[in-house]
């Protein structure tokens, strides 16, 4: 496979024209306060409030490279950055004729052309961009690392249109590799692919279909058996929230407490989506489900969701992480850590996984729903490692986005009253506060917090 490249992403709608990126660029590239040295330029139109950062797009087929008579421009096959070689350049400026994006231009003070070089993979402009109109997207490494690995699920899974699970399970299994036994308790996944139909399984590793209740105990036995035989086989569970937090909780809790060497992934779609959208213990407060209907007497679910990641952390396990596929680089990092931890003890990965049919939103919004859940602190991304005893936020959100926006994307929340929304906000804030205290003071933070309460 070819290389994928990291991107300097530009979101003009977020740009406020502050010009900090220009200053940072001029400083780092020419040690100057004169923004004429900046390789990123902010387009400002005060009339209608249009702002737009103009910067090299590191084209796949760069016209500047093709039109350089001196061979001074080249696309680096490793990083994808279009590089300029000062020794070769003759300042003919023909490259500026080729570039349709104003990405390379003549700097009259330097008497040369200049262009963005991504600061070698750590762009200064991104760091100072307050409104986040510039983002450095490092996802390419995921593609480069994972692209050549074998996809361990058969092509053409039978999931709903827009389902998040397919990308989730393919990435997990690809990462964990073929020396794996997969447990897929009842839920969407077995029917979609993991156990299969008509006598065939969709997974390319040995997989089995435990009961909802005994996933973790069966895996514990398998792992121990293989270990005794001298084989290092990863015991992987891909379970729903029912198979983890409700019916499956007894065996899960037991295995976690005993420190069984299992990688347990909970695919949390906040309910029993496979059997007709019944509530589960991870269904959020106020949510509509078929068993928490909305009508004159009932306004959706009356109880808060069980916050499983913290519950599992309290089992003193090797690793706990929360992840979404929308931040796939973070996702893979956590799968790797959980995988390593599962060789020493119990590892638990809780993945927030929106369900287009059960939650009632268009299938093309699956990624956006996840991003919003993270941005609103409804689903904060963090991880805990027993080895270091540290809990750390991996995508800290200090100024949460509007919860109303998130809720309005989802049909199951459309009926919520102001009071209910307030309730959800408080719950989210409380959980983030607990996590913050623990991230700052270690596990003692939780106790201190209790004392403070």
């Amino acid at each position: 496979m070819g290389n994928a490249y990291n991107t300097l992403a530009v979101y003009p709608e977020k740009c406020n024209g502050c010009g900090e990126c220009e200053k940072a660029c001029a400083k780092v590239k020419a040690n100057s306060t004169d923004v004429v040295h900046s390789r990123i330029k902010v387009l400002k139109s005060l009339e209608d409030g249009f702002f737009g950062p103009v910067v090299c797009m590191q084209c796949g087929e760069p016209n500047c490279v093709k039109s350089c008579p001196a061979g001074a421009l080249s696309k680096n096959p490793e990083t994808g950055v279009v590089e300029w070689n000062e020794d070769k350049c003759v300042s003919c400026t023909i490259c500026t004729l080729g570039c349709p994006y104003a990405g390379i231009y003549y700097n009259p003070l330097m008497s040369t052309v200049v262009k963005c070089d991504h600061c070698g993979g750590d762009p200064e402009c991104v760091k100072v961009c307050e409104p986040k109109a510039l983002e450095y997207r490092p996802e390419a490494s995921v593609y480069n690392d994972q692209g050549d690995l074998e996809d361990l699920f058969a092509p053409g899974l039978a999931a709903c249109l827009g389902c998040n699970m397919e990308i989730l399970v393919r990435h997990v299994l690809r990462h964990v590799g073929p020396d794996t036994v997969l447990a897929a308790p009842p839920g969407c996944l077995p029917g979609v692919c993991a156990v299969g139909f008509n006598g065939f399984t969709g997974s390319k590793v040995p997989s089995f279909h435990p009961l909802l209740t005994n996933t973790a105990s069966m895996l514990a036995g398998l792992r121990r058996y293989y270990k005794r035989k001298g084989r290092d086989v990863t015991a992987l569970a891909l379970a729903g929230d029912g198979g983890a937090a409700d019916v499956g909780f007894q065996s899960l809790s037991g295995a976690a407490e005993r420190g069984e060497e299992i990688l347990f992934v909970c695919i949390d779609n906040e309910g029993y989506m496979n059997t007709g959208m019944q509530r589960s213990s991870t269904t959020p407060y106020g949510s509509w489900t078929s068993t928490t209907p909305v009508g004159p007497s009932l306004p959706g679910k009356a109880n808060d969701s069980k916050y499983m990641p913290l519950v599992m952390l309290m089992h003193d396990v090797e690793y706990v992480g929360t992840a979404v596929t929308a931040y796939i680089d973070d996702f893979h990092r956590k799968v790797e850590k959980a995988y390593q931890a599962s060789k020493r003890g119990f590892a638990y990965l809780h993945v927030f996984s929106p369900c287009t049919t059960g939650w009632r939103y268009p299938g093309d919004k699956t990624m956006e729903v996840q991003r919003q859940a993270v941005a609103t602190n409804i689903f904060p991304l963090w991880e805990y490692e027993k080895a270091t005893g540290k809990l750390a936020f991996t995508h800290p959100v200090d100024n949460p986005a509007s919860l109303e926006n998130y809720l309005s994307m989802l049909g199951k929340f459309r009926h919520l009253s102001k009071e209910q929304i307030e309730h959800l906000k408080n719950t989210a804030a409380m959980r983030v506060n607990i996590l913050k205290a623990m991230s700052e003071q270690g596990l003692a933070g939780y106790q201190n917090l209790k004392v403070a309460v």
Binding site: N63, S67, A70, P108
Partner: protein, 439 residues
């Protein structure tokens, strides 16, 4: 020998074609023939070699590894003598015969020598190959005086280079009474001319060369008003012509000033393509086919030729169906160039030479003392040409505005006031946006 693809010429057109072929066909035998005994380079770089601005070792566009990695047989120092399109065979000057399935001619252009009495017999230089540049540099080591014939890009550029080497330089115009008459109008020409005069280049546009004579290793140049100039180094830069002398009538390939091609760079003969300076291809503005002989066109044409040669059937088919206007086909040549001189920079794009008498609306801004000039040419609500000397504009963005015929919707005056910001804004909202949607 046999090959699937044969490319004659190894500058921008040939290199881009090869690259494009390899995108579609990673294994088909690909052979490239270059008349010069060195790695590929761009003739555009040669004046910079004369000026001494860059080391000759640094300017090659590909290395040996590139050809090995991409499975390209690179034959250098070989001239093509004949092309037999009936047997699909090319004969080289060392007698080698190469049988091809598909041939691309990207041989570029050669200098034209004006019919000045005595010139052909006299000792003179041209500047079109690396060997030419080396000879000039060698002659310049001992020379004290140089005469440069021609006020085009090569002549002007070489004059500056030789002047910087310490030679006394006299620049004499060719056919037309202007500097860079192909790109710059009178106002721009005067500014550029003045800078050359200020930097000690003798340059009187009133006279031409009437006669040349060799005397004791020097050249005696007689001008049209009778003045006689004795010089150590005579450089002729009066223009170029397509290099296609190896195509006899028998080849059947139709030629005019260059090799005639359609918008997929196909010649009149099956399995023969042409691209770059040698090709006479579609004009952006009219139905006539034209020679543009500029670098950006060379790689654009090379890309189209490569795509067409590699035979992506769907593309070819789509091309046939919509009558030669596929998005992958050549979009027609727009005149454009940059010219940088004594620390000044300039560019000209599109219909840069026209005036109001031709029915265009023209907006100019001229500050002779600071050597600044901006000319914007509008046809109705559309920008069709521009010249900029020492102004901050993005030539590429301007070019695309012309190419994609962006309608300014009555905002011409506003555009002329702040062309940099507005053109970038238009870029944001049109082709950049289009790419975003497509992605």
């Amino acid at each position: 020998m046999q090959t699937k693809y044969l490319i004659i010429g190894s500058s921008h057109a040939g290199l881009t074609a090869a690259e494009e072929i390899r995108v579609h066909d990673q294994d088909g035998a690909l052979t490239m023939v270059s008349m010069e005994d060195c790695l590929p380079y761009s003739p555009t770089i040669l004046p910079y070699i004369v000026e001494g601005k860059v080391d000759e070792k640094l300017i090659y566009l590909r290395d040996e590894k590139y050809f090995t990695d991409n499975k390209i047989t690179f034959l250098k120092g070989k001239k093509v003598v004949t092309v037999d399109t009936k047997s699909s065979t090319v004969t080289l000057d060392d007698g080698t015969k190469i049988e091809y399935e598909k041939l691309m001619i990207g041989t570029g252009s050669a200098p034209t020598i004006p019919p000045v009495p005595g010139l052909k017999e006299a000792k003179y230089h041209v500047l079109r190959t690396m060997e030419d540049a080396r000879k000039i540099n060698q002659a310049a080591e001992t020379a004290k005086h140089a005469v440069v014939m021609g006020t085009g890009l090569v002549g002007m550029h070489a004059a500056e280079g030789l002047g910087k080497k310490g030679l006394e330089v006299e620049l004499i115009r060719g056919r037309r009474r202007a500097v860079l008459p192909n790109y710059f109008d009178g106002n721009a020409g005067k500014l550029i001319h003045q800078v050359f005069l200020d930097n000690g280049i003798k340059c009187n546009l009133d006279f031409q060369v009437k006669e040349v004579e060799s005397v004791n290793g020097k050249s005696k140049v007689t001008l049209s008003h009778g003045e006689v100039v004795e010089t150590d180094l005579l450089l002729v830069g009066t223009g170029v012509k397509s290099r296609m002398d190896f195509l006899g009538d028998a080849s059947g390939v139709q030629v005019d000033q260059g090799i005639l091609v359609d918008t997929m760079m196909r010649t009149s003969v099956e399995n023969v393509w042409a691209a770059g300076d040698v090709a006479q291809a579609a004009d952006f503005y009219g139905d006539e086919r034209i020679l543009t002989a500029i670098l950006p066109d060379a790689y654009e044409q090379g890309k189209v030729a490569g795509l067409s040669m590699a035979g992506d059937e769907t593309v070819i088919q789509a091309f046939e169906e919509i009558g030669g206007q596929a998005s992958e086909s050549y979009r027609g040549g727009i005149s454009m160039n940059t010219f940088n001189f004594y620390g000044n920079r300039s560019f000209a794009v599109g219909l840069s030479l026209v005036s109001e008498e031709d029915g265009f609306e023209i907006d100019t801004m001229l500050f002779p003392t600071s050597c600044m000039y901006q000319k914007l040419v509008f046809d109705g609500d559309f920008l069709v040409g521009a010249i900029g000397i020492n102004v901050t504009l993005d030539p590429g963005v301007i070019t695309n505005m012309i190419r994609y015929k962006i309608n300014l919707q009555g905002k011409k005056a506003e555009f002329a006031r702040s062309p940099l910001d507005m053109s970038r804004r238009i870029m944001w909202e049109s082709w950049r946006g289009a790419i975003k949607t497509a992605g």
